[in-house]
C-alpha cells in the first residue's frame, strides 16, 4: 500500500498522465467504428452522396432510423427474436440447473461422465453438427404445431438447439457454483424428510440466484446475437430473428449505406441496454466459467 503514500506526496505523476493519454487514445480508437456508424446513420443519403462521407454535416436527424424501423418492419423481427430468446433462456437455465443439481449434490457414478458430455458439447464448433442437424430438422414433421409443419424453419427448432447447445456451458458453471454451497443445508432438509424436488427448487435454486442472473444476462445476449443457427435453420424471411433478418434486408438497401448503418445500430440497441443495465451480471457470467480451469 506504499503507492498511496507516494500518490499523496506527488499528486501528478508523469507515468500516470502518460498512461491516461495512451488509454484515452485507445478507447477513442475503439469507439471510432461505432461513432462512424452513428454519424453516417444520422445523415441523409442525398447529402453524403453529394459531399462525401468525410465532411461536415448540413443536416443531422433520425430519419434513417425511423425509415429503417418502419420500412423493414423491424417490430416483427424483434418479436420473432423474443419468441425464440425468452423460452430458450428460461429453458436452458431450468434444464441445466437440474443437471447441475444432480451432478453436484449427489455422488452418482455417472456424474463425471455426464458433466464431461455437457461441457465438451458446448465447446464444439456449431458447424460440426449443422449438416445432420439441418437434415434432421427437415425430417421431423410437426403438422399443426409449427407454421412450417416441420422443426425446420420454426421458432421451436431454434429454441431447441439453443437450449441443447447452451445448457453445456450452464450445467458446467452451475455445477461448480452448487458445489460451493454447504452440504449441511440440503442434508439437514433431507434428514427431515424433504423431497429431492424440494431440495432443488426451494433450497438450492434460490441460493444460486447470483449465478443464474449472470447466466441469464449472458444467454440473453448470446441468443439474441445468434446469427448462424437462424441463418441455416430458418428459410422464410418472415420467420427470421432480427440479426439474420438484417442481413436479408441489407441486400435490398445496399445502395444506401446510411440506412444500413441505422438498421444495424437499431439491432444493437437491446443488447446495449441489457449490457448497461446489467453490466456486472454480464461480466461475471463471462468469467464464472472461465475462472474455473
Amino acid at each position: 500500500m506504499s503507492t498511496i503514500a507516494v500518490r499523496r506526496r506527488a499528486p501528478i505523476r508523469p507515468g500516470r498522465v502518460l498512461l491516461h493519454v495512451v488509454l484515452a487514445t485507445m478507447a477513442l480508437a475503439w469507439l471510432a467504428p461505432l461513432a462512424w456508424a452513428i454519424y453516417a446513420a444520422l445523415r441523409p443519403y442525398a447529402e453524403t452522396s453529394e459531399k462525401g462521407y468525410v465532411s461536415l454535416p448540413d443536416t443531422l436527424n433520425l430519419d434513417n432510423f425511423t425509415d429503417a424501423f418502419t420500412q423493414s418492419d423491424m417490430t416483427h423481427y424483434f418479436v420473432n427474436t423474443l419468441v425464440i430468446a425468452v423460452p430458450a433462456v428460461l429453458l436452458t437455465l431450468f434444464l441445466s440447473s437440474m443437471v447441475a443439481f444432480y451432478v453436484s449434490r449427489f455422488d452418482f457414478r455417472v456424474n463425471l461422465a455426464l458433466l464431461l458430455v455437457f461441457t465438451a458439447g458446448n465447446l464444439l464448433p456449431q458447424q460440426v453438427i449443422i449438416t445432420p442437424l439441418y437434415r434432421m430438422y427437415l425430417l421431423v414433421d410437426l403438422p399443426g404445431i409449427t407454421m412450417s409443419g416441420k422443426l425446420y424453419d420454426s421458432a421451436l427448432g431454434l429454441v431447441l438447439i439453443h437450449v441443447a447447445f447452451q445448457s453445456g456451458f450452464c450445467a458446467f458453471v452451475l455445477s461448480n457454483y452448487m458445489k460451493m454451497l454447504p452440504h449441511e443445508l440440503t442434508e439437514a432438509a433431507l434428514v427431515d424428510g424433504a423431497s429431492v424436488w424440494r431440495l432443488y427448487w426451494q433450497i438450492t435454486l434460490p441460493l444460486c440466484r447470483p449465478a443464474m442472473a449472470a447466466l441469464a444476462t449472458l444467454l440473453s445476449i448470446w441468443i439474441y446475437n445468434d446469427f448462424f443457427w437462424a441463418l441455416v435453420l430458418i428459410s422464410t424471411g418472415e420467420n427470421m430473428p432480427i440479426t439474420s433478418a438484417l442481413n436479408n434486408l441489407s441486400g435490398q438497401y445496399f445502395t444506401d449505406p446510411n440506412l444500413v448503418a441505422a438498421g444495424a445500430l437499431l439491432t444493437a440497441i437491446p443488447t446495449l441496454i441489457v449490457y448497461f443495465l446489467l453490466q456486472r451480471q454480464f461480466v461475471s457470467g463471462l468469467t464464472l466459467g472461465a475462472n474455473k480451469g
Partner: protein, 325 residues
Amino acid sequence: MTTDIAKENPEAAAAPPPGAAPVPKPLYGHRRLLTRRDRVTLGLMATLPTILHIALVWVTALASVALAFTTWDGIGFDSIHWVGLQNFKELFEQNPQFWPAVQHNVIWFVVLIVIPTPLGLFLAVQLDKKIRFSRVYQTAFFLPVVLSMAVIGFVWQLVYNPDTGLINSIIGANEPGKYIDWIGDPDLNLWAVLVAASWRHTGYMMILYLAGLKGVDPSLREASAIDGAGEWQTFKNVVFPALRPTNTIVLVVTIIEALRAFDLVYVFNGGAEGTELLSILVTSNIIGESSRIGYGSAIAVVLLLISLVVIIPYLVSTFRKERRA
C-alpha cells in the same frame, strides 16, 4: 470463484506431501435417505436435459462422422451410398478452397493470440491499477463484445467500403483508379476481417484477464515490491505466473473462436476468395445451391478433429483438478 485461482498460486498449490492419505469424500446427499419417488425425480431431472443435449449435439456430431464416408443428396435415405474415403480424397486433392480455408483458420488463431490477446492483457493490467475513469475505459473496450458478429460486420463495412468508407475517404483512395478494395481484394480481405475480429477479441480477453488479476493474491505483489522488484519484474515473475489458469482459458477460448469464426466473414463477403474458412465451406454445402451432405460432413469431420485436439486435453486437465478438489 476467487478461491479457485488462489489454489493455483505457486505458494498455495504446494503439492500435498507424498503418501498423504487422500481426503475422505464427504457423503454427498445421503443417498440412503432417498425414497423411491426421489430416485425417480432425480432420474428424470438428469435424463430429460441429457437426452435433448445428446440428441441434438452428440448424435448429430456422430452422424457427421458417419455421413462423411457416404454420398447423399439429402432427399431419401435410400440415396445414401457408402464411398469410403472418397470425400476426404476429393477434399484434400481437388477442392481448391480447402487448404486455403485451413490456412486461414490457422492465421485467424495466430493473429488473435498474437495481437488482441496481449493487448487485452495489457489493458487489464493497467485498468487493474484502480486508476481514474477505469470504468469508462473498460466500457469502451468491452462494447464490441456485446454486439453481434453480424452487426460488427455491418459496422466495419462502413469503415472499409471502397467508395464511401472511412479509410478510403481519409487517405483519398475513394476515387476511380485509386480504389483500395479492402473487402474484395483477396490479398487484403482476410486482414481487414481480422482487424474487426481483433477489435472484438481484445475486450473479451481484457475481461478474462481482469477477472484473473482479481484472483492474484495481493500479498504476493506486496512481497515482491518490498523485495525491491520493479513493476515489470513483478508482473513477469509474480503476476504472470499466477495467471496460469487464466492463460489456459484464454488459449482454449481463442482456439475455439478461431475454429468457430463464421458470422463476420459471412456478412463481409460470404467467404469469397481470400477469406475461405472451414466453417464457411461446411455451411455453403447446406445453404448454397449444391446439397452434398456427405461432402459437407467430411469438412465438418476435419473441423471436429481439430477441435478435439484442443477440447480433450483441456477437459482432461480441468476434470482431473475437479476430481482432486
